[in-house]
Symmetry: C2
Subunit: 263 residues, 2 copies
């Protein structure tokens, strides 16, 4: 078998579909966009679609499937979102009930699937421009924080924005803003740069999700809207049922990150 | 009374609300974004929101109101979309039934209102950069054409993309692409440059809507996705009821065009 890092998106989805890969998808299919998944019953679909429209930075929609559909059309012509993600989280009334490797047996004809952009896309662009990404250097999960910034509510959905943090030397900040601005559909430019307390973060050493990372002297923390926001919001809103990917185990698309860039 | 061109968005909306202005809003409140309006009963709302998500160039969403809501929250904190547009079109099963000056008496609690970006925003940016906008020079309505490019369908909604055309000297094309790319939420960059037959347009002298404009020797036609697309799609899809603004008589927002620019 080829090294997993050399596999194409299609080969990786095949492997995942057969249950042969259930680890993180970080670092796989470099150059291709990966996506977050949120599945909700149809009665919540308009409210959640509206929530994404009103909060495009934490919830950048890459593709929404029609009720009952499970094959993507835009992100891939050959992907079944019921089987092609390494692990799924099943939430009932906002509580994680279990983690499963496929959801074919759970599928209902009123399920609506939302695929949202993932910061893996812009991190690759940062690395190409020689901008350090600390959690990658330290082989950790990116640190994530619940902020005091409220999302704009929509119907039943409401909650605070979750952000990721990447510490940067001052002389890299401008370039990091420019580069991530190109990727509006994968969280885009930072939503905040500098003092964490301004956005309600008390201690950078204690992230709400993920791992703390080293912040060197004279480095400035930069914060990006995070794809965990919709999961946090779903947990807070407590819909009867919600299925998501397991964080870090993403949907691998056939779309190049460069195809998502705005300029 | 001040010259109408000197009025603020709020003053203009007050004037329109009182029924004292029912002409085009082109050239008014320069610098501020104007918007297209589409109102549909709630049962069509998810499909139409999904249609806009899948077709962001012709249908760039600026704001969507919750079912029954008629006060905007994002485009203005002081606007009633039932009264603050000079004229409304009432469509029943895809046919224009009548044109009215307010829709307060027609309002139903299941109406969902969609406000979409308008190319007035990027035309202003083009003029500032000394790029000619022919229909403005000739004091005409922009020429619009139904193309052979299908929109991506969503639920019941389907139909061809409508485009606007602006002829440009070759040496202005690059700059025009750059400038309009900044305004992704008001149709963004051209969807086609050059030979009209490639996108199914037979004769530039015979637009489907608006007026023909002069194309000078050596000028190249450039085509942008057009906000008339959702109206054309609604006419084709024939929902029971749909209310729109009357073309050219737009909603005037309190948002600066520059606030919509992506970079």
């Amino acid at each position: 078998m080829k090294n997993v890092r050399q596999l194409t998106p299609k080969e990786l989805r095949d492997l995942i579909r057969k249950g042969k890969w259930d680890k993180t998808t970080a670092g796989l299919a470099m150059g291709y966009a990966q996506a977050n998944l949120v599945i909700l019953p149809e009665k919540y679909a308009f409210d959640f679609l509206l929530f994404c429209q009103r909060n495009p930075k934490p919830c950048p929609l890459l593709e929404v499937l029609e009720p009952g559909e499970f094959m993507t059309r835009f992100l891939s012509l050959d992907a079944d979102i019921r089987t092609d993600i390494p692990r799924y989280h099943i939430y009932q009334k906002g509580e994680l009930q279990k983690t499963v490797k496929e959801i074919k047996s759970l599928w209902k004809p009123d399920f609506v699937s939302f695929l949202l952009g993932c910061s893996f896309s812009f991190e690759e662009a940062m690395l190409r421009a020689n901008i350090p990404v600390r959690h990658i250097e330290e082989n950790k999960n990116v640190p994530m924080y619940i902020t005091s910034i409220p999302c704009k509510s929509a119907g039943v959905f409401h909650g605070p924005m979750v952000v990721t943090m990447r510490p940067l030397p001052s002389d890299k900040l401008t370039r990091a803003v420019q580069i991530t601005s190109r990727y509006a559909s994968v969280h885009g430019a930072p939503i905040h740069i500098g003092d964490p307390s301004t956005i309600g973060i008390k201690d950078l050493r204690k992230p709400d999700f993920g791992d703390p990372v080293t912040i060197k002297r004279r480095e400035v923390p930069a914060f990006w809207a995070c794809g965990v926001t919709p999961q946090a919001v779903v947990m807070k809103t407590k819909p009867e049922l919600c299925i998501t990917h397991s964080p870090g185990r993403m949907f691998i698309s056939d779309l190049l990150n460069e195809e998502l860039a705005v300029l």
